[in-house]
């Protein structure tokens, strides 16, 4: 059990010639909650897809439970995915099925369990996220927070060893935020799984995680325990934790000077006005 569950070494990935990730190293031990943080569009979700085997890295290794994910054949990859859960940003519930059928989906697809046992298991999972009473509702009848909890129940249906959360806190009200955060921690501890949380919600995640990776411009900018992160003097981390506009992460997407785009010399214009 000393071997980490997820081990990423020197990982690079890009769409075409545009690099997304450059030389990522990341380790997630068993039973831990790991946060991957960074500004929007920095490749965090891509990282999860690489771990899940949906994308192939251009370079480097990804090992999950001792298996090299990029080298797995379709069948072996599917076997590995049965032991992984993934929570999509907006839940990605199957809209043509009830909440119950959504949670039962994997049990029905991957096991030959009798319907009575499936029923018990599903109700237990739904109870764990506090939505046993909503079993017969359709996803369209749920609020955003509830949908995400159903998706969580669905992700843990097969008792996976690893769950990946893609922005679990996005768009939640403060109460749902706290509930979801605590639930991630509680389920991780109760089921003995490992959780990878991709998020940009610093305050909430620092409360529940064991270790944090900061990703920026495709590289890991900083890492450490929540305490280390809070105390960190790195300007990038400081900007991120405190949500400041000025700092190493620019507000503007790279562009030519505004004056050039507008066809006027802003400096001259300003100067004349002052004069």
């Amino acid at each position: 059990m000393s071997e980490p569950l997820v081990e990423i070494r020197d990982l690079s990935f890009g769409y075409g010639s545009r690099p997304i990730l450059k030389g990522i190293n990341l380790t997630a031990g068993r039973g831990q909650v790991i946060a991957i943080m960074g500004s929007s569009g920095c490749g965090k979700t891509t990282l999860l897809r690489l771990i899940g085997g949906a994308l192939r890295p251009t370079q480097g290794s990804i090992r999950v439970d001792g298996l090299s994910v990029p080298d797995l054949k379709q069948r072996a990859l599917f076997d590995l995915r049965k032991r992984m859960g993934m929570l999509f940003q907006f839940g990605a519930l199957f809209t043509d099925m009830t909440v119950f059928d959504n949670v039962a989906f994997q049990l029905r697809e991957h096991t030959d369990l009798p319907e009575a046992i499936i029923r018990d298991l599903v109700l237990m999972k739904l109870h764990a996220v506090g939505l046993r009473g909503a079993a017969d509702l359709l996803p369209s009848e749920l609020s955003g927070g509830m949908a995400r909890r159903v998706a969580l129940a669905r992700a843990i249906a097969l008792d996976p060893m690893l769950i990946m959360y893609d922005e679990p806190f996005a768009g939640l009200d403060p109460i749902s935020l706290g509930v979801t955060g605590n639930m991630i921690r509680r389920l991780t501890d109760a089921l003995g799984m490992t959780s990878l949380v991709v998020t940009h919600d610093v305050q909430e995640s620092l409360k529940i995680v064991d270790y944090v990776y900061f990703v920026s411009n495709g590289v890991i900018e900083a890492e450490g325990t929540p305490a280390e992160i809070r105390a960190s003097g790195l300007p990038f981390v400081h900007q991120f934790v405190h949500g400041e506009e000025e700092g190493p992460v620019p507000f503007h997407y790279p562009a030519v000077d505004l004056g050039v785009d507008l066809g006027v010399d802003l400096g001259v214009a300003r100067g004349e006005k002052h004069a």
Binding site: A92, F94, T95, H110
Partner: protein, 264 residues
């Protein structure tokens, strides 16, 4: 000057290459559907669900349009036949035009706009809301679980809908011709029976409707799967499904008619 000449040609080349490429991808997609249809055999309920949403839900439009088409054929046919004093051949006219052409073709066109567009929109939205990806991450093959059942459901529904369309049309022609206008009941049916051949006419109509079913469902599924995962992408894909499958139906109808009736 040369640029003005070259760029449209280059655009044309680009279009041709792109559409050929898409056709290749669609053919590969079709082969993939057939290869991954095992789950449909093991779990027929997946297909039954799709027969419901493509077949049962298209019933009303098929029955109503079939009736009207048959009634119009009855009126128009009677008008023309009367000039030659052979009103009794009304049954033949109505039945042959429905069984050979109008039944399969119009039913398939309606099927494309009713069921085909629904399939594209549904699959496109499933992709846009990451449901397809979620399924893949749950180690479930979406081709086997989502696409193949819809394909077989459509394939089962289409010939049945076409048969119902033809039957309702003949009934509509009977209503107008015999009940309303007063063509002789006996000769209406007997002339029809003498002229309509099971192997030549009815069976070939069924073959047509099966081919149309394959074409429409494959196009609808491919467009849905291929749609950019945005609102605009899905709506465009839905339109493309209706346009492409209507063209495909008419083109295939010509080819099938040429091959089967003329033996080319």
């Amino acid at each position: 000057m040369p640029k003005r000449v070259i760029s449209p040609i280059r655009m044309l080349g680009h279009r041709v290459i792109e559409s050929l490429w898409r056709m290749g991808v669609a053919a590969r997609f079709f082969a993939l559907i057939l290869m991954r249809s095992g789950a449909c055999v093991r779990r027929p309920h997946l297909v039954i669900r799709e027969v419901f949403s493509t077949g049962v839900l298209s019933l009303i439009i098929i029955i109503v349009s079939g009736m009207f088409v048959g009634m119009v054929l009855g009126l128009q046919g009677y008008d023309t036949l009367q000039t030659y004093g052979s009103e009794e051949a009304l049954g033949v006219l109505v039945a042959l035009s429905l069984v050979r052409e109008l039944g399969p073709v119009v039913a398939a066109l309606l099927f494309a706009s009713r069921a085909g567009s629904a399939i594209t929109a549904e699959i496109g939205l499933m992709r846009a809301t990451e449901q397809i990806e979620a399924m893949q991450m749950m180690a479930v093959d979406p081709i086997a679980r989502v696409v193949a059942p819809r394909f077989w459901g459509g394939l089962i529904s289409m010939p049945l809908l076409a048969a119902m369309f033809s039957a309702m049309g003949i009934f509509g022609g009977y209503l107008v011709g015999v009940v309303l206008i007063g063509v002789d009941d006996g000769s209406f049916w007997s002339q029809m029976q003498a002229a309509v051949d099971f192997g030549d006419d009815i069976l070939q109509g069924v073959i047509k409707s099966v081919v149309f079913g394959v074409a429409v469902t494959t196009i609808a599924l491919f467009e849905g799967f291929d749609a950019p995962p945005t609102a605009e992408g899905v709506s465009r894909a839905t339109t493309r499904t209706v346009v492409t499958s209507s063209l495909a139906i008419l083109a295939l109808d010509f080819i099938l008619t040429a091959v089967m009736f003329r033996g080319l």
